[in-house]
């Protein structure tokens, strides 16, 4: 396995390499650790809630790469993704008062917001049909493009990402595909069934089994996720 490094992200590198924890053994940190003295994501959210632009600037530096990747995965257009990324960080600034630490971590909140905006954007711009066509081609050429769109030699994965991908890779391709279409395309079970020519009940089962496996896998990482 090659040494890991975040690509195109300003997030600090992890201090230690970590491995997928086995049941009952998860003493090592999973997400990259921050530099000593760096504000936590919660600190930055509090700063934004107080109206501190520097807090937003730091949060942007930390997560713009992850959020843009998510947006791109949905809309497949670089320029639109950049515009949407800006809108999303503006929404983070405007909606920060609605963030509650009791309901989860800042990154989870931001990802939820970004995903919703990206899927809305996709539909509003009526690019759905075009993206569908592209997706169709991708699906035919690379049925499991979500997790195999590049080799590990081509991508230097962060430890966290590698661990999560390992969990996802462990799913059968039809389960990966169903989850991919639901999460990154915002498709309903019926839409997935129609798109993949699969009975509705089968789609439901694939989603349930796949999500449960990922959820259970993530339990090993729960201190960080």
């Amino acid at each position: 396995m090659k040494p890991s490094k975040l690509v195109a992200s300003t997030r600090p590198k992890p201090k230690k390499r970590v491995r997928l924890a086995k049941s009952g053994a998860r003493s090592q940190p999973v997400l990259p650790q921050l530099e000593p003295g760096a504000p936590s994501d919660f600190d930055l959210m509090k700063g934004i809630q107080r109206g501190d632009p520097d807090a937003l600037s730091q949060l942007y530096d930390r997560y713009n790469g992850i959020l843009k990747a998510l947006i791109l995965r949905v809309i497949h257009n670089e320029a639109e993704a950049d515009d949407l990324l800006q809108e999303i960080f503006m929404e983070i600034w405007n909606q920060a008062k609605n963030f509650s630490a009791q309901k989860g971590k800042p990154l989870g909140w931001m990802v939820t917001l970004a995903r919703r905006r990206a899927i809305d954007g996709l539909r509003k711009k009526q690019a759905y049909a075009r993206a569908e066509e592209r997706l169709q081609n991708e699906t035919e050429q690379q049925p499991d493009a979500w997790v195999h769109n590049a080799t590990e030699e081509e991508i230097e994965l962060s430890d966290t990402r590698r661990l999560i991908r390992k969990v996802i890779k462990s799913l059968p391709p039809p389960q990966q595909q169903a989850i991919d279409l639901a999460f990154f395309r915002g498709m309903s079970q019926r839409e997935i069934a129609a798109k993949t020519n699969t009975p509705l009940g089968t789609v439901k089962t694939r989603l349930e089994l796949g999500l449960k496996k990922i959820y259970d896998g993530l339990k090993e990482l729960k201190d960080e996720l």
Binding site: G51, I66, K68, G108, W146
Partner: protein, 78 residues
Amino acid sequence: MNFNEFQNQSRLYVIGALEPEELEEFEKERKKFGKKAEDFITKCYALHEAFALSLRPAKASTAIKDRLMSMVKAKHQA
């Protein structure tokens, strides 16, 4: 619906994959299970974070941050 079934539905719910008729039933059960249900749904949102982290980070245009911060500062000063 028992809680195990509710958990399955919760994972579908957080990724927006419940069909309208399932959503109606889910909301009823959500009320029935109360705090236990809310706590579980909150945990399920970790799936969002995980899916985003599974992607290779992309590079945003440098102009985006400049534009964003100009807008934020202008709004902050207004």
